[in-house]
């Protein structure tokens, strides 16, 4: 089965019903996408399918086929971090950092859909992502900063 992952075509031999997460992590060594629950409840495994956030632990391979799959490893473009990644560093969001990949993917999708989100937009876009260290306020702050950075880059 051929998959388009971070702009690269990858061939995998696997059951089409197998969740994408385990193929990414165990077959392709793309371990930035995390296992948190396997039940679609924590958001740690979030990837983008054609730009839309998806829980890769609940996404069978067959429904990822033919779509552009973006993982955290593919967010950086030409050595430049995505504004959300940059803002996470700048705001100094993380404690353990394990939720960050999924948070960043969900936030990147939000900004694409809604470049100037308010607090409630951010909250509802990220409600399915859990941070057990409780860095939520900083994540909101980082997403807002990323929105400003993206805007600045466009106008500058």
């Amino acid at each position: 089965m051929d998959l388009d992952i971070n702009g690269v075509r990858r061939s995998v031999q696997s059951d089409p019903e197998r969740p994408l997460l385990y193929v990414l992590r165990d077959e392709l060594d793309l371990t930035g996408t995390k296992y948190g629950c396997g039940e679609g409840q924590c958001g740690a495994c979030t990837v983008l399918l054609d730009g839309t956030p998806a829980r890769s632990c609940r996404t069978p391979l067959r429904s990822a086929q033919g779509k552009k799959i973006t993982t955290i490893e593919g967010l950086e473009q030409n050595g430049r971090l995505h504004p959300v990644q940059e803002a996470f560093i700048e705001v100094d969001v993380m404690q353990c950092g394990y939720c960050n990949s999924g948070m960043i993917m969900s936030a990147a999708a939000l900004l694409k859909r809604k470049p100037d989100p308010n607090e409630s937009d951010i909250q509802s876009a990220l409600q399915g992502n859990i941070c057990r260290c409780g860095t939520y306020p900083r994540i909101v702050e980082a997403v807002r900063m990323a929105a400003r950075m993206a805007k600045g880059a466009q106008h500058g």
Partner: protein, 693 residues
């Protein structure tokens, strides 16, 4: 009161009695040339035998807390047995070294929690890294700086006081320079320093005490950071343990053959352990399901009867003392079992080579896990290497090594390395829980607020922060061991959460009983100026005492002390249709000299949010040896929408030693909210999680 941490039955584990090291190697040889500073532990001398401490890196002296190496390249490497769990000590400890050595942060590397490379450490527990390990590293770096100055003084034949260090270079008065690398080249210097060597006082800190962003942030946001469950070694297989449906089950029979018939699968039965390992993770479900195992279990109690169970299974009866004077009240408070729910479940990668075992795992006690492994396999501890890898945190839940042992058992059978990642359901079921508890309190106070009697009896949850920090001369505070229906262990702040919930709820009840304003009642009984200072700071920022602005609104507060940290928390709630909404939390905290203000702010905010889960939603339900809610859809941990407006007030006491801050900030929200709910409704909730019905 500050110096002695209450020993905690669920946290401190005795070091191994024996520590055989048959093939002593000179660990210093591993480090190569340059200079090495070893820091003796407080109270240790070179002659002491070690008093039961475990051994760290092969051949390393015992009673050494840490060492620091400056290589001939000028690179600075610090070796400590402490572990990074998200509390950002990799960053704060780097600051300690940079402060004394005056070298740029990117030249400093920390090797942490690797039993082959680092000194023995009891564990990253009890908020002890900052008060104990950070001063050791300050001393090591200060001593290294003196050694470098000595080398430069000798080389230039100049007096040492005329020389200075700046940014990794020694300068003399005439402007000549020698880098650390130039000075250490060709050297082989070792110095052991005492635990009381002089360091820069906090009032003069330039790097420590200031903000510094998390050091490995870029690796984390790009997905490059390798957490335990991300580790891959060549030829690795994937493991899964086959579990019984209930606790206290014994294996009756197991037919391993159907699993073994699947190509690329090995299946192990050893005593009551049953598990499989597969060359491809896609086979795990099928292989585990193919094992035909039959278990026998026994009837067990349930969460509805838990609190009666705890009181009726106490090892001895409570002796209540008569209350002599004042208005007397009594009440009982309940705390359920809760799960740590680290976002990364337990995981381990185990590899055997020639009878030597290496295990990468997320643990707060790598040396403790090494002992568990050595005992499980009957091998010497120096044949076991445990590497505490980056992990999706622990909150006290990753002290033990069962996942490491299971991975190692599978790897031994497979003859190949095995990675075992627990499922979320396993993490909710087969780890251990924060102890449940019942706390009975009887107290009395005069109308002027003087507390005349305080009797506090804690069943099972533990004795951390069990004693009241208020001025109560004859207080009684006792812990009562009971049989615990579920496996239990340490949890962030240990029993300080339960004890503060009961104590500060009860203080509120007593204040209302004598008709005294709750904050004034606490100030009346708080003699410790640091306790008074946090109460003043939180109430002032909260605007405590202001009139209510809307119906169903309530205000509550608390204060407390544990593990060197002083805390006071105020909460504002709205209660409508029996639903509690937390609108605002203001929390003050004082832990001596602040090491990194931004990281502390992050920890304080995160602790408040994590504490909201235990306060409002988290409780493990169980029946007959089964966990009834082992999924995140059934066990709600705080999410974005649960976060109230949060303000933290940090009191920086540069004149006092730094205490840890990873735990105590979690104890505030539950009692503050319970008291606010009472203020809003007149209803007193004495059980966590707080619910109205």
């Amino acid at each position: 009161m500050v110096e002695n941490f209450e020993p905690e039955r669920y946290e401190l584990h005795a070091a191994p009695v024996y520590s055989f090291v048959p093939d002593r190697r000179d660990f210093l040889k591993l480090l190569g040339g340059g200079l090495v500073v070893l820091v003796a532990l407080p109270g240790a001398s070179a002659q002491e035998s070690g008093g039961g401490r475990g051994r760290g890196a092969a051949g390393a002296p015992q009673d050494i807390g840490a060492w620091l190496h400056i290589a001939e390249s000028g690179a600075v490497t610090v070796y400590t047995g402490k572990v990074e769990m998200g509390q950002n000590i990799r960053t704060s400890l780097t600051q300690a070294v940079a402060e004394e050595l005056d070298v740029s942060l990117d030249r400093i590397a920390l090797v942490m929690g690797d039993t082959m490379l680092t000194p023995y450490d009891i564990g990253t527990v009890g908020s002890m890294t900052t008060p104990q390990m950070a001063p050791q590293l300050h001393r090591a770096a200060a001593a290294a700086r003196e050694m470098l100055l000595d080398l430069a003084a000798e080389k230039w034949n100049e007096a040492k006081p005329t020389l200075s260090v700046a940014d990794g270079v020694v300068h003399n008065a005439s402007g000549a320079k020698l880098s650390f690398g130039e000075l250490t080249k060709g050297q082989k210097l070792t110095r052991t320093i005492s635990a009381d060597a002089r360091v820069t006082p906090a009032s003069e800190w330039k790097i420590a005490g200031h903000d510094l962003k998390k050091i490995n942030a870029r690796a984390i946001v790009t997905g490059q950071e390798k957490f335990v469950s991300d580790i891959r070694v060549p030829g690795m297989m994937y493991g899964r343990v086959v579990r019984p449906a209930a606790f206290q089950s014994a294996l009756v029979s197991a037919d391993m053959q159907p699993a073994r018939e699947i190509p690329g699968v090995i299946a192990v039965r050893d005593g009551d352990f049953v598990g499989v390992a597969c060359d491809d993770s896609s086979k795990l479900d099928r292989a585990a399901a193919a094992v035909q195992a039959e278990w026998k279990t026994i009837p067990q109690t349930n969460s509805r009867e838990l609190f009666d169970y705890l009181e009726s299974h106490a090892t001895r009866a409570v002796q209540w003392q008569p209350v002599e004077s004042g208005k007397s009240i009594e009440a009982s408070y309940n705390i359920p079992y809760i799960a740590h729910t680290p976002l990364e479940p337990r995981a381990a990668v185990a590899q055997w080579e020639d009878g030597h075992l290496t295990v990468w795992t997320g643990t707060q006690r790598p040396f403790g896990v090494r002992t568990e492994l050595a005992q499980a396999f009957g091998i010497a501890e120096d044949h076991v290497r445990v590497i505490a890898s980056a992990t999706g945190s622990g909150y006290g839940g990753k002290h033990t090594g069962e996942c490491a042992v299971e991975a190692a058992r599978l790897a031994k059978a497979a003859g190949k390395p095995v990675k075992l990642t627990w499922t979320r359901e396993e993490e909710f079921t087969w780890a251990y829980f924060r102890p449940a508890g019942v706390i009975d309190v009887r107290s009395a106070a005069h109308d002027d607020g003087t507390i005349t009697s305080w009797q506090f009896h804690n069943y099972n949850s533990g004795n951390a922060a069990i004693r009241s920090p208020y001025n109560i001369p004859n207080q009684i505070a006792e812990f009562h061991a009971t049989d615990s229906p579920l496996r239990q262990g340490s949890y962030r702040s240990l029993a300080a959460c339960a004890n503060h919930f009961a104590r500060e709820s009860h203080m509120d009840e007593l204040a209302h009983a004598i008709g005294m304003e709750p904050a004034a009642f606490r100030m009346k009984n708080a003699n410790d100026p640091r306790l008074r200072a946090v109460i003043e700071a939180s109430t002032e920022r909260f605007r405590w005492g202001a009139a209510k602005t809307r119906p169903h609104q309530g205000f509550g507060m608390m204060a407390g002390f544990d593990k060197g940290g002083y805390i006071s928390c105020c909460a504002e709630v709205t209660v409508a249709d029996n639903k509690i909404t937390v609108d605002r939390v203001v929390q003050s905290f004082e832990c001596g000299a602040i090491v990194n203000p931004e990281q502390l702010r992050n920890l304080l905010t995160g602790s408040i949010i994590q504490g909201l889960g235990g306060a409002l939603t988290e409780a493990i339900e169980f029946e007959n040896g089964r966990i009834l809610n082992p999924h995140l859809a059934q066990y709600r941990v705080p999410r974005f929408s649960d976060v109230p407006q949060i303000e933290v007030v940090m009191l920086d006491r540069r004149d006092l030693p730094s205490a840890g801050a990873g735990e105590t900030p979690i104890v505030g929200v539950a009692p503050a909210i319970a008291n606010a709910v009472f203020d809003a409704t007149g209803k007193r909730i004495r059980s966590m999680p707080l619910k109205l019905s």
